[in-house]
């Protein structure tokens, strides 16, 4: 008999189960966002170098603001670009 592993789906079967987004700063107790840690900040910008909205990143308002200032500081210091293409 064909087990569930053998069945191939045309679309992703996990689409229906809505995974709740969460604020990782609140969840893991991160209190300070370092503007020098560019690898971490890269998670919150798209490949044009734009800051992702809260709707996508799931951050709470408090930490979205802190994250945005950290990104802006690191842009000022030329650690992150203001405008690009194909950043990732």
């Amino acid at each position: 008999m064909a087990s569930r592993d053998d069945i191939k789906f045309l679309s992703n079967p996990n689409i229906g189960n809505n995974m709740k987004k969460y604020c990782r700063f609140k969840k893991f107790g991160i209190k300070y966002i370092d503007y020098k840690d560019t690898d971490f900040l890269l998670q919150f910008i798209n490949d044009q170098g734009k800051i992702l909205p809260r709707r996508l990143s799931g951050n709470s308002l408090k930490y979205q603001r802190k994250m945005a200032t950290a990104i802006k500081r690191s842009r000022h210091l030329a650690m992150l670009p203001y405008v690009t293409d194909l950043l990732k």
Partner: protein
């Protein structure tokens, strides 16, 4: 005493001595003003994300200090602005979480997991490389080259034989089905 952190980028075209002397100049300036230097991080030559003053790289310095008054920050920044050797600067006041974060980072508490994983991976890779080298040394001695050849010679006839037989069987099956 309030904790501050200033990061500045020095022109990389200067000689090493000049770069060091500019950085030392500002650090001694801070000390004169009565600051307590907590930590100096020489981040070294880094690639800039976009050109500044037609330069594509810069030497980064990050100085953490405790200042008795905020007024000396203005003096420091004025000196930075007047200095042509400084490409960019940023001074930030650190809150208690930020000072804690910087302290933890210096102690290696933050990002420790990643470092551990990286170290483990390196060790594994080295071990494997050593083992491979050992095996590589053993193989040619234990098994001389002629041995691998015969299996290849045997395998070919079998592969040729199978397809020849298979079609006959399928044909006969089809024929039976058609009859039925």
């Amino acid at each position: 005493m309030v904790q501050y952190e200033t990061t500045f980028i020095v022109d990389p075209v200067l000689s090493d001595g000049e770069i060091n002397s500019t950085a030392d100049n500002y650090i001694s300036h801070l000390k004169k003003e009565g600051c307590e230097i907590v930590h100096i991080n020489e981040m070294g030559l880094r690639q800039l994300a976009y050109p500044i003053k037609k330069r594509n790289s810069g030497v980064y310095y990050n100085v953490e200090f405790q200042a008795p008054t905020g007024s000396l920050i203005d003096k420091l920044e004025l000196a930075f602005r007047r200095d042509e050797r400084i490409m960019r600067f940023l001074t930030v006041r650190l809150d208690k979480y930020a000072t804690q974060y910087n302290q933890d980072k210096r102690d290696g508490k933050i990002g420790g997991y990643k470092r551990k994983v990286a170290a483990e991976r390196k060790a594994k890779a080295e071990e494997e490389a050593q083992n491979k080298a050992k095996r590589g040394n053993d193989k040619p001695k234990g098994k001389p080259k002629p041995k691998p050849k015969p299996p290849v010679a045997e395998a070919k006839p079998v592969a040729e034989a199978k397809p020849a037989e298979a079609p006959v069987e399928t044909k006969s099956d089809n024929a039976e089905k058609n009859d039925a």
